[in-house]
Amino acid sequence: MSKTAQKWIHLIVSCILSAMLIGLGIALIISCLDIYNSGPKPYTPESIAAHFQKISLLVYLTAACVVLGIVLNLVMPQEKKKVKAFRDNAETLSRLEAKAGMLEGEFAQKAAKEKNLRKILRLCTAIACVLLAIRPLLHFMNQDNFLGDKTQCVIRAMTIALVYGAASLSLTFLCKALCSKSIDRQIDIYKASIASNGASGLKPVVDDDKDAKRAFILRCVLAVAAITFIVLGIFNGGAEAVLDKANAICMECIGMG
């Protein structure tokens, strides 16, 4: 079979399978909502089975399609796509910095300007994020907000946290995007400097051993802390609490109600 035909077969099977899976997901959600709305409690295995009976054909068909997809992959494997490179521009910049050596004149001024711009951007974003975190934290610290219906309180608190979290996340990414643009501009400055003054021939200073040593020391500190904490936990009843909770099923905790 030609490669084009194989490609088409793969595409058709994967599209059918996607449609069936999405359909099955929607059917499952509708069935669950249907069971919930149908009442009356308590549910019985028979009443639940009766609801899911309606979508059984779809379940079997989807399962058959999944198996077909697996068989197709085994019999007619698709060619692996070529890996697309993803270069980190900060890394490129550090390499170019070393390669270009000390900048002079206009190049040095422009590069310093970009560096300062990034510093200011990062500082402003950090301050804004801290300020944005205060409001949800204050909400969580005020016990009056958590009296009454627990679910309502949690929904309210999480909504506030999400809104402020989304705002700080958006700011962070705006800052990152601006910094990335700034790095690109600085890369162009270094490239222009290399083009006019030539390369210094240096490579960025990298000390893998130093990183490894630092990681080793941190690991040792954490090992001591972890073992100390576990021993302390055994004596202050923490271990017992873990066992006791694990041995009992809290219906609410596993999301049953």
Binding site: Y43, I70, A85, D88, D208, L232, G237, A248, I249
Partner: protein, 513 residues
């Protein structure tokens, strides 16, 4: 078929096998999933394992209410420890998380997490895939938000009210629903738990369907965007003992490593890296390697082969023979691993015994008579005495079973049961039975501070290993449980779930007629 054709065929089969054989990572994942869920008999009996092995936490996300779970869940234990944070510093669970963090980091997500394995397998389903992009990178920070608010802040906030609120377990955790609730409900003998299903279950079922569907189209959908355990372990990734590491001195910044990775990493080994090893396979300068001992995993031995930039398949490339010492060490480690798994399977399935399922507490039968000791709470009737259900004959009696770590239990005692007193006063008897375990807590003080003590409720303790409770719940250790007994001592209503005033009053009204 001549000799050359035969050889060609063999090579073809060999190539096919090389491309389709399970990778070492997959085998380790399967091993870890089986070890974490070694109590397979639980699926048959419908009981969870209740032995001492649950002092230990499994490293991955695996609900401890799953009938097969052999150890505790670190996230569940952490949220539970937060409930007591105003009294006891949660040293134990923090120590365990630190230990796993510095030893393994997110290597756990890639190799040991059963839910990670499930997502990996779901992603294999043949559908078009949504690759990583700026949006997924942004969304990957959501898990830190969930960790901060649902796992730490929310339980801490409710700890002041002495109310257990495992926010993540209750509202998000797909493992709890899939293998915890799902595992229990899949057994016909637990049909009495169906009474618990309600809005919370419906919400979590909806989320579970989204997580499962998402994992088919997006690589590790739950792991990347929602898992707080991954977020926590990710903080240790750079210093963890196991994982992947890049030697910067060898790196040429070709960008193939980040391009080949399905996770939202920006650098090899950063907080998003689950050490799957794809980058190890594509690095043209061998700058990326595994940290830690080379006994189990050496460079280019993980995952299925990927084409490198130079189109050289590492599997086809002539391999360097391993030193004899390493070979022997690997063999010993493999034997030890199989011995541990075999031992665990034998212990959990053949040595450990499940309780005998009781059928004495069915609706319509006489309530079994067990002794309960009455707590010395404020305004307590019968304080310090020993009671039996038969002492309440002649009155409609509501018996509620609860324990201090059960949020739903505390909630219904605080909000629903006082309404019974308002409605019926002394016409009914309400007996509230705490578990025999005191969980290192002062239950009397908790009742005085947090539960209604001016309603004439009799707060008692279920003596002798919660024999009364287990008899009524058919030996399933699921709280809360409420029963209503008529004036002749016959059980007329039973629910193993949170109940409401409306539900109870409907039965009581009938009995009082």
């Amino acid at each position: 078929m001549n000799k050359t054709e035969n050889h060609k065929e063999k090579t073809k089969i060999g190539q096919w096998w090389a491309n389709h054989k399970p990778s070492k990572r997959r085998l380790i994942q399967l091993y870890a999933a089986l070890l974490t869920n070694a109590n397979l008999k639980g699926f048959k009996s419908g009981y969870i394992y209740q032995g001492n092995a649950k002092y230990a936490c499994a490293p991955g996300l695996n609900c401890y209410s799953c009938p097969a779970a052999s150890a505790s869940c670190p996230l569940g234990a952490l949220q539970n420890a937060m409930r007591d944070a105003n009294k006891t510093i949660p040293f134990y669970i923090v120590g365990i998380l630190l230990l796993y963090g510095f030893l393994f980091g997110r290597w756990i997500c890639g190799f040991l997490c059963p839910f990670g394995l499930l997502q990996d397998l779901l992603y294999k389903i043949k559908t078009p895939k949504i690759k990583k992009n700026r949006l997924t990178r942004t969304a990957s920070y959501l898990k830190y938000f969930i960790l901060a608010y649902l796992v730490i802040l929310l339980p801490l906030t409710y700890a002041v009210q002495e109310y257990p609120m495992p926010g993540f377990c209750k509202y998000i955790c797909p493992s709890g629903l899939l293998i915890g609730a799902g595992g229990l409900l899949s057994n016909d003998l637990n049909f009495n738990l169906l009474g618990a299903l309600g809005p919370l279950f419906t919400w979590k079922f909806l989320l579970l369907v989204i997580f499962i569907l998402g994992s088919v189209f997006i690589y590790r959908f739950f792991c990347r965007f929602f898992c707080p355990l991954g977020a926590l372990y990710g903080l240790f990734n750079k210093i963890s003992w196991l994982g992947v590491k890049m030697e910067k001195s060898k790196c040429t910044n070709c960008g193939l490593c980040v391009g080949a990775c399905d996770m939202d990493i920006r650098h090899v080994g950063d907080h998003e890296c689950i050490s799957c090893g794809k980058c190890v396979n594509v690095c043209p300068t061998n700058a990326i390697r595994y940290k830690g001992p080379k006994i189990m995993l050496a460079p280019n031995e993980v995952g299925l082969p990927l084409k490198t930039k130079q189109n050289v398949d590492p599997v086809d490339a002539p391999g360097t023979p391993l030193p004899k010492k390493t070979k022997i060490a690997r063999l010993l480690v493999a034997i030890a691993m199989f011995a541990v798994l075999g031992g665990a399977l034998v212990y959990y399935n053949f040595i450990d015994q499940d309780p005998v399922r009781s059928t004495a507490g069915q609706v319509g039968s006489l309530c079994p008579d067990f002794e309960m000791s009455v707590y010395k709470t404020e305004n307590a009737p019968y304080a310090g005495e020993t009671l039996k259900p038969s002492d309440s004959l002649g009155k409609v009696t509501v018996i509620n079973f609860w324990y201090i770590y059960c949020g739903g239990c505390v909630h219904e005692l605080q909000d629903e049961f006082p309404l019974l007193y308002e409605e019926y006063g002394d016409r009914i008897e309400v007996i509230v039975v705490h578990s025999d375990q005191e969980y290192g807590q002062d239950i009397t003080a908790f009742i005085n501070d947090n539960l209604p003590t001016d309603c004439g409720f009799i707060y008692t303790r279920d003596q002798a290993g919660e024999a009364f409770f287990y008899t009524l719940t058919d030996s399933t250790p699921a709280w809360p449980c409420t029963i209503i007994i008529d004036e002749y001592g016959v059980i007329q209503f039973k629910t193993i779930a949170n109940t409401t005033f409306e539900e109870l009053s409907g039965v009581i009204d009938e009995l009082l007629k």
